[in-house]
Amino acid sequence: MISGEHFTNFFLDNLPQIAIGLGEGHQGPLEKWLKIPKVIVPGEPGLASHIMEQTVSAGFQPALSYKMKADHGFMTVYYELDPLMRLPMVPIVLNCTTKPLMTLRQCYDFGKALGDAIRSYPGLDRVALCAAGGLSHFVGEPRVGDIDEEFDRWFVGQLEKADLGDLLDTPNDELMQAGNGTGEVRAWVAVAGAMHGHAGTTLAYEPIYEWINGMGVVVYEDSLPSTV
């Protein structure tokens, strides 16, 4: 599962672009006011270590943590997937807010390496890959509460193409104009990289102003077994 770093695990004294949680469990959520039971989500250390090794071999330098915590970035979406919170998780955080930032193309390439790593892991048969973050939102600045609906609809539309060329060429500064929190879509682009060659399908998009966030869901149908 990929999400943006919210200064939960890392801060400005030590902020990696990518970090992978290798632990046996992940404490979450940390936010007391979140109406999700506080638990230790089971980890999947074997898969996590394999992802670490394979992505390093592919030329990336992710940080590692045996004590990664899962904040709302993970837990809100994970809880909707598994309300009992028993499904093992490998958390991966991306720096989505603090310059210098990875480009969308770099995130896509990391996603490709991540997908290859998962598919070469012999320890499990079936794995789900999930990005949690975005869409457009503004945090701690005068435009807080605004949603860039035009960007959001363009972005999910781009994910419905098998070739993301235009999207991957989006400059970081242009992405930032859609909201200082919108960079969390890097996680979505990484999933698209892992599923490269497959077009996404938008299941929902709603600009929910009460939640100060563009809310969407894109699924990769081609990844699903034919029996589903």
Binding site: E31, Y121, V218, V219, V228
Partner: protein, 54 residues
């Protein structure tokens, strides 16, 4: 070798868990309905090789 049996991306907002009723009903139904579809697919595809989601 492992197979990625499902992949998806979803927005996260603290309010979707802290005060989910605060969203307009139709919008919340659309968003959570999509996540429900994802969950149903995960259940059917036995993600992780376990039956935890059942």
């Amino acid at each position: 070798m492992a197979e990625i049996v499902m992949a998806y991306s979803a927005s996260h907002a603290p309010m979707m868990a802290a005060d989910r009723e605060s969203a307009p009903r139709e919008q919340a139904a659309s968003f959570f309905g999509a996540l429900r579809q994802v969950r149903d697919r995960a259940t059917n595809s036995e993600v992780g090789g376990r039956d935890d989601l059942r």
